[in-house]
Symmetry: C2
């Protein structure tokens, strides 16, 4: 699980781009071959954000794609094992300005047969300028430079691919059951710095540690079951964000009988809402 | 488009149950035949909530189902036309306590070929009692009996299937461009009254008129592209809710270049969070 090659600053390719490399298969249109990347490894599989970004990457590489990402839902059916995987991305319906996708990730199981590890749907859209307004202003928080970058506090490799500067709701220092809220606000970006695009934004929507850890100040087993990302930004707005920080805000709404939900908002430093996201997360006990 | 038969109070079957009748096809496991229902007709197709409920109904009827609904994402690829449709529900992966589903609705197109109108994914789960907490308390609002039932103000048939008692953010009476927020709170339930279950809850998550109408006090064309529902309640909690009202709360977060998102919370009168939901919605101009 060494990641020295992937994180070397002398490498000419960013670890995120390494992780998202997909090769079009000659077997079928929309079929891509990829490899899990040690630099984005979580506890028992890849970081969920990198898996979501990989599915979006397949759409972005697809020769028949119409427009830019509008929504993406990824369901984590089973952990990917280290190694090769296949992505299948199919545009099942193309309208005048929207296109609907179904996707899956497959991996060879113990007996050699292909197993579905991940399912997804997505919508891409050609967007036009209209009346627009943000109805959730970015919270007033200290600038990124005013907040120290804090090590995330639990040793999984993918966290080293992100610079995180928590404002409130950092990971508890003591697991003493004293938690009383589930709100995290933090500045964040890829490290090394990398210009923002749709795939990077997708992964950033999933960087928050489990809300149940914060709410309970107790570190119970937890894992995302399903995540949805709604993209509000244009490619130009992402480009203008460049390597700047995003303000990420995450909150749980309901924790009940083994599952909680999380709502997420992502703004750039200029206060533009780039994406909103939601997920439902398994937890134990 | 008459719906007299379906809404007669002497009918022994509730219009919702009529609309959700699916017949298992002999052609393939998980394939079901249904019919659009005039009582739930919207402007150019069925009410989106009834389509989402239909997909969940297929899962609930499937002989291989494990557990109760946990999450459902429905993508409206194209409007259904009036008449017969086919639902395909496939459990693509079954784990110890979760099951992952992919679904689609197909209809014969103009040339007779089957066309995908709707795609979906879902997760069902066997849930066990754990530590639980609600982190978004129900807002303090007047009781349902204190709020008059207000006609929704735009003439589509499906609205007659719901009793709605708005508290704040009712549909604007004047389309004068004066809007300044996107928050709606209302008490709501099926009419005639019908005991709550997962399919009714699913449809109720989609009853809110487009946020852009409220935010702008302007009635522009709008339609849901994708909706996600997270189920927090057990079947027993739904049963205990019975025919009581739900408090529904909906808000837009970002309106940008032809699409806005909507976040939704649904509580029962006892203040239990039954579901949270999100959608991304197309709008014109």
């Amino acid at each position: 699980m060494t990641s020295s090659a992937s994180t070397s600053s002398s490498s000419s390719i960013h670890p995120l781009d390494e992780a998202l490399q997909l090769t079009a298969s000659s077997a079928a249109t929309g079929q891509y071959e990829g490899q899990t990347h040690p630099g984005y490894w979580n506890m028992v599989g890849p970081f969920g954000g990198i898996t979501a970004a990989t599915l979006l990457q397949a759409i972005l590489q697809h020769p028949d794609r119409l427009g830019d990402p509008l929504s993406l839902t990824v369901n984590y059916a089973g952990a990917l094992t280290s190694g090769a995987f296949t992505v299948q991305a199919t545009p099942v319906r193309t309208n005048r300005s929207t296109q609907h996708w179904t996707l899956s990730i497959l991996q060879a199981g113990a007996d050699g047969a292909q197993v579905v590890t991940t399912t997804a749907t997505a919508v891409t859209a050609v967007r036009r300028e209209t009346w627009s307004v943000g109805d959730v202003p970015m919270p007033e928080v200290p600038a990124p430079s005013a907040q120290p970058a804090i090590p995330p506090g639990f040793g999984v490799e993918w966290l080293n691919r992100y610079e995180m500067r928590p404002i409130t709701g950092a990971i508890p220092r003591q697991w003493d059951g004293s938690g009383d809220h589930s709100l995290t606000q933090l500045w964040m970006r890829d490290t090394p710095a990398r210009p923002l695009d749709f795939v990077a934004l997708t992964a950033l929507a999933d960087v928050f540690f489990p809300r149940v850890w914060l709410r309970r100040a107790r570190q119970v087993p937890a894992g995302t079951v399903s995540i949805t990302v709604y993209f509000h930004a244009t490619a130009e707005q992402l480009q203008a964000t460049g390597t700047g920080f995003l303000l990420g805000q995450a909150r749980g709404q309901e924790f009940r009988n083994g599952f909680f939900d999380q709502t997420v908002q992502l703004w750039n430093e200029a206060g533009t809402m780039l994406a909103t996201s939601h997920q439902i997360v398994y937890y134990k006990e």
